[in-house]
Protein backbone atom coordinates (compact mmCIF):
# COMPACT_ATOMS: atom_id res chain seq x y z
CA UNK A 1 0.00 0.00 0.00
CA UNK A 2 2.78 2.34 1.01
CA UNK A 3 4.70 1.37 -2.12
CA UNK A 4 1.72 2.22 -4.30
CA UNK A 5 1.40 5.59 -2.56
CA UNK A 6 5.04 6.38 -3.08
CA UNK A 7 4.86 5.43 -6.73
CA UNK A 8 1.78 7.61 -7.18
CA UNK A 9 3.53 10.52 -5.52
CA UNK A 10 6.60 10.01 -7.71
CA UNK A 11 4.41 9.83 -10.82
CA UNK A 12 2.74 13.11 -9.82
CA UNK A 13 6.08 14.77 -9.26
CA UNK A 14 7.49 13.58 -12.54
CA UNK A 15 4.49 14.25 -14.76
CA UNK A 16 5.12 17.47 -16.64
CA UNK A 17 2.24 19.95 -16.70
CA UNK A 18 2.85 21.29 -20.17
CA UNK A 19 0.80 24.32 -21.01
CA UNK A 20 2.18 26.39 -18.14
CA UNK A 21 5.13 28.65 -18.73
CA UNK A 22 6.19 32.25 -19.20
CA UNK A 23 3.86 34.22 -21.44
CA UNK A 24 5.63 36.31 -24.07
CA UNK A 25 4.13 38.83 -26.46
CA UNK A 26 3.24 37.16 -29.73
CA UNK A 27 1.80 40.12 -31.68
CA UNK A 28 -0.11 43.32 -31.09
CA UNK A 29 -2.42 45.91 -32.65
CA UNK A 30 -1.03 48.48 -33.29
CA UNK A 31 2.17 46.59 -34.15
CA UNK A 32 5.20 47.17 -31.97
CA UNK A 33 7.13 50.24 -33.13
CA UNK A 34 4.80 50.99 -36.07
CA UNK A 35 2.79 54.02 -37.20
CA UNK A 36 -0.98 53.89 -37.76
CA UNK A 37 -3.03 56.27 -39.91
CA UNK A 38 -5.74 56.97 -37.33
CA UNK A 39 -6.39 56.57 -33.62
CA UNK A 40 -7.10 52.88 -32.97
CA UNK A 41 -10.15 51.96 -30.84
CA UNK A 42 -8.04 49.73 -28.59
CA UNK A 43 -4.62 48.27 -27.96
CA UNK A 44 -4.71 44.51 -28.26
CA UNK A 45 -1.85 42.19 -27.30
CA UNK A 46 -1.81 38.47 -28.01
CA UNK A 47 0.43 36.27 -25.87
CA UNK A 48 1.86 32.87 -26.62
CA UNK A 49 0.28 31.33 -23.54
CA UNK A 50 -2.67 31.65 -21.21
CA UNK A 51 -2.56 34.53 -18.75
CA UNK A 52 -4.23 35.21 -15.41
CA UNK A 53 -6.89 37.96 -15.74
CA UNK A 54 -6.52 39.14 -12.14
CA UNK A 55 -2.79 39.72 -12.42
CA UNK A 56 -2.55 41.00 -16.01
CA UNK A 57 -2.70 44.67 -16.87
CA UNK A 58 -2.01 47.06 -19.74
CA UNK A 59 -1.93 50.85 -19.87
CA UNK A 60 -1.15 53.43 -22.53
CA UNK A 61 0.69 56.71 -22.00
CA UNK A 62 1.34 59.66 -24.28
CA UNK A 63 4.72 61.32 -24.72
CA UNK A 64 4.13 63.41 -21.62
CA UNK A 65 3.68 60.21 -19.56
CA UNK A 66 -0.03 60.91 -19.05
CA UNK A 67 -2.25 57.87 -19.05
CA UNK A 68 -4.63 58.02 -22.03
CA UNK A 69 -6.39 54.64 -22.13
CA UNK A 70 -9.94 54.04 -20.85
CA UNK A 71 -8.75 52.01 -17.87
CA UNK A 72 -10.82 49.02 -18.91
CA UNK A 73 -8.04 46.49 -19.52
CA UNK A 74 -9.25 42.92 -19.66
CA UNK A 75 -8.25 39.46 -20.72
CA UNK A 76 -10.44 37.89 -23.39
CA UNK A 77 -12.15 35.01 -21.52
CA UNK A 78 -12.60 32.96 -24.68
CA UNK A 79 -8.95 32.68 -25.64
CA UNK A 80 -7.21 33.54 -22.39
CA UNK A 81 -4.30 34.87 -24.43
CA UNK A 82 -5.57 38.30 -25.51
CA UNK A 83 -5.08 41.36 -23.31
CA UNK A 84 -6.75 44.58 -24.46
CA UNK A 85 -7.58 48.09 -23.32
CA UNK A 86 -9.88 50.65 -24.96
CA UNK A 87 -8.67 54.00 -26.24
CA UNK A 88 -10.53 57.29 -26.69
CA UNK A 89 -9.91 59.17 -29.93
CA UNK A 90 -6.27 60.22 -29.68
CA UNK A 91 -4.46 63.04 -31.46
CA UNK A 92 -1.42 62.32 -33.64
CA UNK A 93 1.67 61.61 -31.63
CA UNK A 94 3.79 58.95 -30.02
CA UNK A 95 2.34 56.59 -27.42
CA UNK A 96 3.81 53.88 -25.24
CA UNK A 97 2.09 50.69 -24.11
CA UNK A 98 3.09 49.11 -20.79
CA UNK A 99 1.96 45.56 -20.10
CA UNK A 100 2.48 43.10 -17.29
CA UNK A 101 1.04 39.60 -17.23
CA UNK A 102 1.22 36.50 -15.09
CA UNK A 103 1.13 33.12 -16.75
CA UNK A 104 -0.96 30.34 -15.27
CA UNK A 105 2.00 29.00 -13.25
CA UNK A 106 2.80 32.35 -11.63
CA UNK A 107 5.61 33.49 -13.88
CA UNK A 108 5.40 37.23 -14.44
CA UNK A 109 6.57 38.83 -17.66
CA UNK A 110 6.41 42.46 -18.61
CA UNK A 111 7.28 44.77 -21.44
CA UNK A 112 6.56 48.01 -23.18
CA UNK A 113 6.53 49.26 -26.71
CA UNK A 114 5.79 52.42 -28.65
CA UNK A 115 3.49 53.16 -31.55
CA UNK A 116 2.75 56.37 -33.42
CA UNK A 117 -0.45 57.91 -34.76
CA UNK A 118 -0.10 60.03 -37.94
Amino acid sequence: MRTRGLLTAAAFLLTPVLGWAHAFLDRSEPRVGHTVDASPPAVRIWFDGQIEPVFSTVRVEDDGKHRVDKGDSRVDPASGTLLEVGLPPLPPGRYRVFWSVVARDGHRTEGDFAFRIK
Partner: protein, 328 residues
Amino acid sequence: MRGRTLYACALVLALILGGAHTAQAHGLIGKRFFPATLATDDPFVADELSLPTLSYLKLRGSEEAPPTKQFDLSGEFSKRLSPDLGISLGGTFTILDPDEGSTVTGFDNLEIAAKYVFFKSAPHELLLALGLSWDVGGTGSKKVDAESFDTWTPQLFFGKGFGDLPDQLELMKPLAITGVLGLAIPSRVHTKTFETDEDGNVDVKKPLNPTVFQWGFSVQYNLQYLQSNVRDVGLPAPLNRMIPIVELVLETPVDGRDAGRTTGSVNPGIIWFGRYFQLGLEAVIPINHDVSKDIGALAQIHFYLDDIWPQVFTWTPFHGVLGPTQPQ
Protein backbone atom coordinates in the same frame (compact mmCIF):
# COMPACT_ATOMS: atom_id res chain seq x y z
CA MET B 1 13.12 -3.77 3.49
CA ARG B 2 11.95 -3.11 -0.07
CA GLY B 3 9.49 -0.52 1.18
CA ARG B 4 12.25 1.17 3.18
CA THR B 5 14.43 1.30 0.08
CA LEU B 6 11.61 2.82 -1.96
CA TYR B 7 10.99 5.34 0.80
CA ALA B 8 14.67 6.27 0.80
CA CYS B 9 14.61 6.65 -2.99
CA ALA B 10 11.53 8.86 -2.81
CA LEU B 11 13.17 10.97 -0.11
CA VAL B 12 16.34 11.39 -2.20
CA LEU B 13 14.18 12.22 -5.21
CA ALA B 14 12.31 14.82 -3.19
CA LEU B 15 15.56 16.29 -1.90
CA ILE B 16 16.99 16.47 -5.40
CA LEU B 17 13.90 17.80 -7.09
CA GLY B 18 12.45 19.83 -4.27
CA GLY B 19 13.62 23.38 -4.55
CA ALA B 20 12.71 26.85 -5.39
CA HIS B 21 10.52 28.80 -7.71
CA THR B 22 9.49 32.38 -7.88
CA ALA B 23 7.46 34.56 -10.13
CA GLN B 24 10.79 36.23 -10.92
CA ALA B 25 11.83 33.34 -13.08
CA HIS B 26 15.17 32.24 -14.40
CA GLY B 27 16.77 34.45 -16.96
CA LEU B 28 14.29 37.30 -16.60
CA ILE B 29 15.18 40.74 -15.30
CA GLY B 30 12.62 43.43 -16.08
CA LYS B 31 11.46 42.77 -19.62
CA ARG B 32 14.72 41.09 -20.60
CA PHE B 33 15.05 37.36 -21.07
CA PHE B 34 18.58 36.04 -20.82
CA PRO B 35 19.14 32.54 -22.18
CA ALA B 36 21.43 30.07 -20.50
CA THR B 37 24.79 30.48 -22.18
CA LEU B 38 26.64 27.39 -23.39
CA ALA B 39 30.31 27.97 -22.67
CA THR B 40 30.18 30.43 -19.78
CA ASP B 41 27.86 30.40 -16.81
CA ASP B 42 25.13 33.04 -16.78
CA PRO B 43 24.43 35.24 -13.72
CA PHE B 44 20.98 33.84 -12.90
CA VAL B 45 19.97 31.26 -10.35
CA ALA B 46 17.39 28.96 -11.86
CA ASP B 47 15.70 25.59 -11.89
CA GLU B 48 17.18 24.11 -15.00
CA LEU B 49 18.87 21.13 -16.55
CA SER B 50 21.50 21.21 -19.26
CA LEU B 51 21.48 17.76 -20.79
CA PRO B 52 23.32 17.07 -22.86
CA THR B 53 26.04 19.57 -23.60
CA LEU B 54 28.20 18.11 -26.34
CA SER B 55 31.57 19.52 -27.29
CA TYR B 56 34.26 18.57 -29.73
CA LEU B 57 37.76 19.94 -30.14
CA LYS B 58 40.92 18.50 -31.64
CA LEU B 59 43.77 19.18 -29.22
CA ARG B 60 47.16 19.89 -30.74
CA GLY B 61 49.90 17.43 -29.99
CA SER B 62 52.99 17.95 -27.87
CA GLU B 63 56.23 16.12 -27.16
CA GLU B 64 54.40 13.98 -24.64
CA ALA B 65 51.08 13.35 -26.41
CA PRO B 66 49.89 13.02 -30.01
CA PRO B 67 47.12 15.23 -31.45
CA THR B 68 43.89 14.07 -29.82
CA LYS B 69 40.22 14.48 -30.56
CA GLN B 70 38.33 15.34 -27.39
CA PHE B 71 34.59 14.73 -27.07
CA ASP B 72 32.81 15.85 -23.91
CA LEU B 73 29.30 14.87 -22.87
CA SER B 74 28.19 17.02 -19.95
CA GLY B 75 25.15 17.55 -17.80
CA GLU B 76 24.27 20.08 -15.13
CA PHE B 77 21.33 20.30 -12.78
CA SER B 78 20.59 23.64 -11.09
CA LYS B 79 18.10 24.40 -8.34
CA ARG B 80 17.07 27.52 -6.50
CA LEU B 81 16.99 27.43 -2.71
CA SER B 82 15.52 30.92 -2.50
CA PRO B 83 14.73 33.57 -5.12
CA ASP B 84 18.38 34.63 -5.15
CA LEU B 85 20.32 31.58 -4.01
CA GLY B 86 20.94 28.48 -6.10
CA ILE B 87 23.09 25.40 -6.27
CA SER B 88 24.18 23.22 -9.15
CA LEU B 89 25.70 19.83 -9.75
CA GLY B 90 27.56 18.99 -12.92
CA GLY B 91 29.46 16.15 -14.48
CA THR B 92 31.32 15.44 -17.72
CA PHE B 93 32.09 12.21 -19.54
CA THR B 94 35.19 12.60 -21.69
CA ILE B 95 36.35 10.62 -24.71
CA LEU B 96 39.95 11.13 -25.79
CA ASP B 97 40.76 9.72 -29.20
CA PRO B 98 44.47 10.20 -30.01
CA ASP B 99 45.82 10.01 -33.56
CA GLU B 100 48.13 7.25 -32.30
CA GLY B 101 47.09 4.82 -29.61
CA SER B 102 43.83 3.66 -28.19
CA THR B 103 40.81 5.70 -27.15
CA VAL B 104 40.49 6.60 -23.49
CA THR B 105 37.21 7.37 -21.74
CA GLY B 106 36.19 8.40 -18.25
CA PHE B 107 34.39 10.90 -16.07
CA ASP B 108 35.91 14.22 -15.17
CA ASN B 109 35.59 15.44 -11.60
CA LEU B 110 32.19 16.24 -10.16
CA GLU B 111 31.49 19.96 -9.95
CA ILE B 112 29.34 21.53 -7.25
CA ALA B 113 28.55 25.23 -7.28
CA ALA B 114 26.56 27.82 -5.39
CA LYS B 115 25.49 31.24 -6.60
CA TYR B 116 23.91 34.23 -4.90
CA VAL B 117 22.36 37.17 -6.75
CA PHE B 118 23.14 40.23 -4.65
CA PHE B 119 22.00 43.03 -6.93
CA LYS B 120 19.11 43.39 -9.38
CA SER B 121 17.84 46.38 -11.29
CA ALA B 122 14.86 45.64 -13.51
CA PRO B 123 14.72 49.09 -15.19
CA HIS B 124 18.38 48.77 -16.15
CA GLU B 125 18.20 45.02 -16.87
CA LEU B 126 21.22 44.58 -14.62
CA LEU B 127 22.12 41.63 -12.44
CA LEU B 128 25.18 40.88 -10.28
CA ALA B 129 25.93 37.60 -8.54
CA LEU B 130 28.65 35.92 -6.53
CA GLY B 131 29.46 32.26 -6.89
CA LEU B 132 31.70 29.55 -5.56
CA SER B 133 32.52 26.47 -7.58
CA TRP B 134 34.06 23.29 -6.18
CA ASP B 135 35.76 20.85 -8.53
CA VAL B 136 35.75 17.78 -6.31
CA GLY B 137 39.18 16.22 -6.63
CA GLY B 138 39.46 12.46 -7.00
CA THR B 139 35.89 11.90 -8.17
CA GLY B 140 36.91 11.63 -11.81
CA SER B 141 39.08 9.24 -13.74
CA LYS B 142 42.85 9.68 -13.93
CA LYS B 143 42.69 8.25 -17.45
CA VAL B 144 41.19 11.52 -18.66
CA ASP B 145 43.45 13.64 -16.45
CA ALA B 146 40.87 14.41 -13.76
CA GLU B 147 42.77 16.06 -10.91
CA SER B 148 43.23 14.25 -7.64
CA PHE B 149 42.93 17.51 -5.72
CA ASP B 150 40.08 19.96 -5.19
CA THR B 151 39.88 23.26 -7.02
CA TRP B 152 37.91 26.16 -5.56
CA THR B 153 36.78 28.99 -7.80
CA PRO B 154 35.20 32.14 -6.36
CA GLN B 155 33.34 33.94 -9.12
CA LEU B 156 31.68 37.24 -9.95
CA PHE B 157 28.87 37.18 -12.51
CA PHE B 158 27.13 40.02 -14.28
CA GLY B 159 24.41 40.47 -16.85
CA LYS B 160 23.33 43.71 -18.51
CA GLY B 161 20.68 44.36 -21.11
CA PHE B 162 20.67 47.59 -23.08
CA GLY B 163 16.94 48.21 -23.08
CA ASP B 164 17.56 51.46 -21.19
CA LEU B 165 19.35 53.07 -24.12
CA PRO B 166 17.66 56.19 -25.56
CA ASP B 167 15.08 55.63 -28.26
CA GLN B 168 17.43 57.07 -30.89
CA LEU B 169 19.46 53.88 -30.45
CA GLU B 170 16.45 51.59 -30.41
CA LEU B 171 17.98 48.90 -32.60
CA MET B 172 20.74 48.49 -29.99
CA LYS B 173 18.21 47.79 -27.23
CA PRO B 174 18.01 44.03 -27.91
CA LEU B 175 21.74 43.78 -27.14
CA ALA B 176 22.90 42.30 -23.85
CA ILE B 177 26.14 41.13 -22.31
CA THR B 178 26.89 38.62 -19.60
CA GLY B 179 30.20 37.74 -18.03
CA VAL B 180 31.99 35.80 -15.35
CA LEU B 181 35.33 36.41 -13.64
CA GLY B 182 36.78 33.66 -11.51
CA LEU B 183 40.00 32.55 -9.89
CA ALA B 184 40.53 28.77 -9.87
CA ILE B 185 42.62 27.96 -6.82
CA PRO B 186 43.92 24.39 -6.48
CA SER B 187 43.91 22.93 -3.01
CA ARG B 188 47.31 21.35 -3.66
CA VAL B 189 50.11 23.58 -4.91
CA HIS B 190 52.23 20.71 -6.22
CA THR B 191 51.34 17.21 -7.32
CA LYS B 192 54.08 14.72 -6.59
CA THR B 193 54.69 12.09 -9.28
CA PHE B 194 57.18 9.24 -9.45
CA GLU B 195 58.82 8.01 -12.63
CA THR B 196 61.16 5.04 -12.92
CA ASP B 197 63.72 4.93 -15.74
CA GLU B 198 65.17 1.83 -17.42
CA ASP B 199 67.91 1.53 -14.78
CA GLY B 200 65.41 1.49 -11.97
CA ASN B 201 66.15 5.01 -10.80
CA VAL B 202 63.15 6.74 -9.34
CA ASP B 203 62.62 10.34 -10.37
CA VAL B 204 60.33 12.42 -8.22
CA LYS B 205 58.60 15.32 -9.94
CA LYS B 206 56.55 18.05 -8.31
CA PRO B 207 54.90 20.09 -11.06
CA LEU B 208 53.07 23.22 -9.97
CA ASN B 209 49.29 23.27 -10.13
CA PRO B 210 48.75 26.83 -11.25
CA THR B 211 46.12 29.22 -10.01
CA VAL B 212 44.16 30.25 -13.07
CA PHE B 213 42.17 33.39 -13.79
CA GLN B 214 39.07 32.27 -15.68
CA TRP B 215 37.11 34.89 -17.55
CA GLY B 216 34.37 34.79 -20.07
CA PHE B 217 31.82 37.01 -21.73
CA SER B 218 28.84 36.74 -24.00
CA VAL B 219 27.39 39.32 -26.35
CA GLN B 220 23.86 38.50 -27.46
CA TYR B 221 21.18 40.06 -29.64
CA ASN B 222 17.69 38.97 -28.63
CA LEU B 223 15.31 38.91 -31.62
CA GLN B 224 12.33 38.25 -29.33
CA TYR B 225 13.18 41.47 -27.48
CA LEU B 226 13.39 43.30 -30.81
CA GLN B 227 9.98 42.03 -31.89
CA SER B 228 8.21 42.55 -28.55
CA ASN B 229 9.69 45.77 -27.22
CA VAL B 230 11.30 47.70 -30.06
CA ARG B 231 9.94 46.96 -33.52
CA ASP B 232 7.84 44.17 -34.95
CA VAL B 233 9.89 43.40 -38.05
CA GLY B 234 7.66 40.47 -38.96
CA LEU B 235 10.02 37.66 -38.12
CA PRO B 236 8.20 34.31 -38.29
CA ALA B 237 8.79 31.38 -35.98
CA PRO B 238 11.37 30.08 -35.21
CA LEU B 239 13.38 33.22 -36.04
CA ASN B 240 11.39 35.30 -33.55
CA ARG B 241 12.84 33.24 -30.67
CA MET B 242 16.45 33.25 -31.77
CA ILE B 243 19.39 34.93 -30.10
CA PRO B 244 22.60 35.26 -32.11
CA ILE B 245 25.43 35.09 -29.60
CA VAL B 246 29.21 35.30 -29.36
CA GLU B 247 30.91 33.88 -26.29
CA LEU B 248 34.53 34.35 -25.23
CA VAL B 249 35.95 31.71 -22.94
CA LEU B 250 39.41 32.53 -21.63
CA GLU B 251 41.94 31.26 -19.09
CA THR B 252 45.11 32.93 -17.87
CA PRO B 253 47.41 31.17 -15.36
CA VAL B 254 48.65 33.61 -12.75
CA ASP B 255 51.65 31.52 -11.71
CA GLY B 256 53.79 28.70 -13.06
CA ARG B 257 55.67 28.51 -16.33
CA ASP B 258 52.65 29.64 -18.40
CA ALA B 259 51.82 32.60 -16.17
CA GLY B 260 50.16 35.37 -18.16
CA ARG B 261 49.64 33.23 -21.24
CA THR B 262 45.96 33.33 -22.19
CA THR B 263 44.23 30.49 -23.96
CA GLY B 264 40.62 30.03 -24.90
CA SER B 265 38.16 30.42 -27.69
CA VAL B 266 35.70 32.72 -29.39
CA ASN B 267 32.37 30.96 -29.89
CA PRO B 268 29.92 32.46 -32.37
CA GLY B 269 26.59 30.71 -32.42
CA ILE B 270 22.84 30.80 -32.10
CA ILE B 271 20.35 30.00 -29.35
CA TRP B 272 16.69 29.28 -29.91
CA PHE B 273 14.43 29.37 -26.86
CA GLY B 274 10.98 27.94 -26.53
CA ARG B 275 8.61 27.79 -23.58
CA TYR B 276 10.13 24.73 -21.96
CA PHE B 277 13.63 24.36 -23.35
CA GLN B 278 16.28 25.99 -25.47
CA LEU B 279 18.69 24.72 -28.10
CA GLY B 280 22.16 26.14 -28.66
CA LEU B 281 24.89 25.62 -31.20
CA GLU B 282 28.28 27.33 -31.31
CA ALA B 283 31.53 27.05 -33.21
CA VAL B 284 34.63 26.92 -31.01
CA ILE B 285 37.41 29.00 -32.55
CA PRO B 286 40.66 28.90 -30.55
CA ILE B 287 42.20 32.36 -30.00
CA ASN B 288 45.69 30.91 -30.51
CA HIS B 289 47.30 27.57 -31.27
CA ASP B 290 48.31 26.73 -27.71
CA VAL B 291 45.46 24.27 -27.21
CA SER B 292 44.15 23.62 -30.70
CA LYS B 293 44.64 24.68 -34.28
CA ASP B 294 41.20 23.52 -35.43
CA ILE B 295 37.66 24.77 -35.06
CA GLY B 296 35.51 22.76 -32.69
CA ALA B 297 31.81 22.68 -31.93
CA LEU B 298 29.52 23.00 -28.93
CA ALA B 299 25.83 22.06 -28.74
CA GLN B 300 23.35 22.00 -25.89
CA ILE B 301 19.79 21.15 -24.96
CA HIS B 302 18.70 23.08 -21.90
CA PHE B 303 15.44 22.49 -20.03
CA TYR B 304 13.55 25.07 -17.96
CA LEU B 305 12.48 22.80 -15.13
CA ASP B 306 10.29 25.32 -13.36
CA ASP B 307 8.22 25.69 -16.51
CA ILE B 308 8.01 21.96 -17.15
CA TRP B 309 7.29 20.90 -13.55
CA PRO B 310 5.82 23.94 -11.77
CA GLN B 311 4.12 21.70 -9.20
CA VAL B 312 7.53 20.45 -8.12
CA PHE B 313 9.50 23.65 -8.37
CA THR B 314 7.18 25.97 -6.47
CA TRP B 315 8.64 25.18 -3.09
CA THR B 316 11.71 26.87 -1.70
CA PRO B 317 13.38 25.67 1.49
CA PHE B 318 14.22 29.23 2.52
CA HIS B 319 11.29 31.10 1.01
CA GLY B 320 8.26 28.83 1.14
CA VAL B 321 5.89 28.22 -1.74
CA LEU B 322 5.77 31.14 -4.11
CA GLY B 323 2.73 31.95 -6.17
CA PRO B 324 1.66 34.89 -8.28
CA THR B 325 2.61 38.27 -6.96
CA GLN B 326 0.00 40.86 -6.03
CA PRO B 327 -2.08 42.47 -8.78
CA GLN B 328 -0.48 45.69 -10.02
